[in-house]
Symmetry: C2
Subunit: 335 residues, 2 copies
């Protein structure tokens, strides 16, 4: 039986194994700092489909099939799929998996979805409910801008605090048996709301949630920042990252050079005009599956704490003047 | 260790116990066929809030607190919340739980969310990951019409195949210990798409998913319709219900008088102008928590198979000419 630790965390007794993983990204991500690490770079933002939403679905579909192939499995081996995306009513996920003929748990954690899907897929495997599960998420710059901000054709100016939604999908197959890095601990996050209302400054909106989950994780596990080779938040960007450092310092934890943010890792701050960095469900997903997991396999990283972050807003809640609450889900991976 | 059964189902070895539950509904639901059974009937569609979205959040908040009270617990006893709603980016759920200070798994299964949340909350308890979990969902006629169809002020005509979104919220506390009905089996559903494109005929869109999950459930458990006191789909209405009967008959299973649909149970077909019946996440949620569970406690029902059904569309996918795929999640409750 797995252990309930502290207020929010779980220690797995039979840590689910990452037996397969994949990263499929768009052109801009391919030209970014991690370009060489991604499995597939798709130059056509439409991915041969009729619209951006179906293109995003195709990213999820291809990433999922690739992760399953990399695990040397077939779709028939996957018992349950845990997936979600940023689009209203998860239509990228729906149209990605409607032909897979496998039970699906649709998840919405905004850009924290890779954390949420990994946590639930891991519980499912550790609990003995499935031999293999698939955790996957996606985002697409064009479908996200269309939904949350302005039509691309409008050509609006983006304030320096904005981030750039990553186009791509990351997928992970978890198994009870096999070889690979293991999910050893999880810290599901709670919603934090500091009352910030600026949807053009997601980093500031999400920083309290990231800081809270990391703090709770240290407290629950009685661990400290130095215990991890890497601590990576999801998509805070440069603004949010510095806030998290400040907030954790106030609580007695100093995050040093082993602390990064996937939104800062993915694009070049000098060569690519993304302002505060990358964001979107795919940001932490492909940085994990494209970069961190490969660094684990090569022995450069042994223990990481990934904390994907999500801003919980819609155009309706923003228009109605509500704040932008946020959530962050922590996952420890060891190899 | 719980048992994996057949292709999609799970049998719990320590079936999670429904230790508390609640139903909070709007005026129309209070005037319907099940009016006398609901815990709270709220006459004001705004529930004292500034907009429909916040009103829907309040339904979830009040239902959750009531279910926790009925379980003789406090919010501190709940380790994880599994919740979702119909609104884009789950804003009803976000603003319901932002002050609860408990880890949240945001779910989207459209109107099947009560099934999805119960399944994951049950796995979490049975797997030893939490002593108590909360499964909850909501819908609101006004927020749903605003989002999916037309502004209420437009006064559009509704075709006879349409259903009426239930205003309300149902919440369930699951525990490892305590007294009450138990979740004994689950059958998570897969997405089914028969290519139907009419968002004004949700019953037809969802029938294939309901029929598939029920068929798979019978096959996995080697059970038959007569083994259950009641088999209830979520919100197919009169159109979808008759389709499910036909589809299952073709597969060799005859559903008789013990088969019903929550969307048919909730409103009066003669006194209330709802056309094909009720729908929305709250439809199966409050019919379960307001009516079925009370019939179980009184001994009138001993074993039920609840199959909440969800239509996976958004205004974007509809506008882009896509079909309306659907999903249905099966849960067996015994007492």
């Amino acid at each position: 039986m797995s252990k309930i630790i502290g207020e929010q965390s779980i220690q797995f007794d039979n840590p689910p194994i990452i037996v397969g993983f994949s990263s499929v990204v768009g052109q801009k991500e391919g030209e970014g700092l991690l370009g060489q690490y991604f499995d597939k770079i798709i130059e056509d933002p439409m991915y041969g489909e009729e619209n951006w939403e179906l293109a995003e679905s195709k990213f999820q579909k291809v990433a999922s099939q690739l992760a399953i192939n990399n695990a040397k499995l077939t779709i028939n081996d996957i018992r349950y799929i845990f997936a979600g995306d940023l689009l209203s009513q998860l239509i990228a996920t729906t149209f990605a998996f409607k032909d897979f003929q496998k039970p699906l748990f649709g998840l919405y954690g905004a850009c924290s979805t890779m954390g949420e899907s990994l946590q639930l897929a891991a519980m499912c495997v550790d609990g003995g409910f499935a031999p293999y599960t698939l955790a996957v998420t996606s985002s697409h710059y064009c479908s996200a801008e269309k939904q949350f901000r302005f039509p691309l054709e409008y050509g609006n100016q983006r304030p320096p605090t904005t981030t750039w939604t990553v186009t791509g999908s990351g997928a992970i197959v978890l198994g009870r048996q096999g070889k690979g890095p293991r999910v050893t601990y999880i810290t599901p996050g709670k919603i934090m709301d500091y009352g910030i209302k600026d949807p053009m400054n997601m980093g500031a909106c999400m920083a309290p949630a990231a800081a809270d989950t990391i703090y709770q994780h240290f407290k629950d596990l009685k661990s400290k920042p130095e215990d991890y080779d890497l601590i990576a938040t999801g998509d805070l960007g440069v603004v949010g990252k510095s806030l998290v450092k400040k907030m954790l310092l106030e609580k007695g934890y100093e995050l040093k050079d082993n602390f990064t943010d996937c939104g800062i890792e993915i694009y070049s701050p000098t060569a690519q005009d993304t302002h505060a960095g990358g964001s979107g469900c795919a940001c932490s997903a492909v940085t994990l599956t494209g970069y961190f997991l490969k660094k684990m396999l090569s022995g450069e990283l042994k223990k990481i704490l990934l904390v994907p972050t999500g801003a919980l807003l819609s155009t309706v809640s923003s228009n109605e003047g509500e704040s932008v609450p946020a959530i962050a889900h922590g996952v420890v991976i060891e190899y």
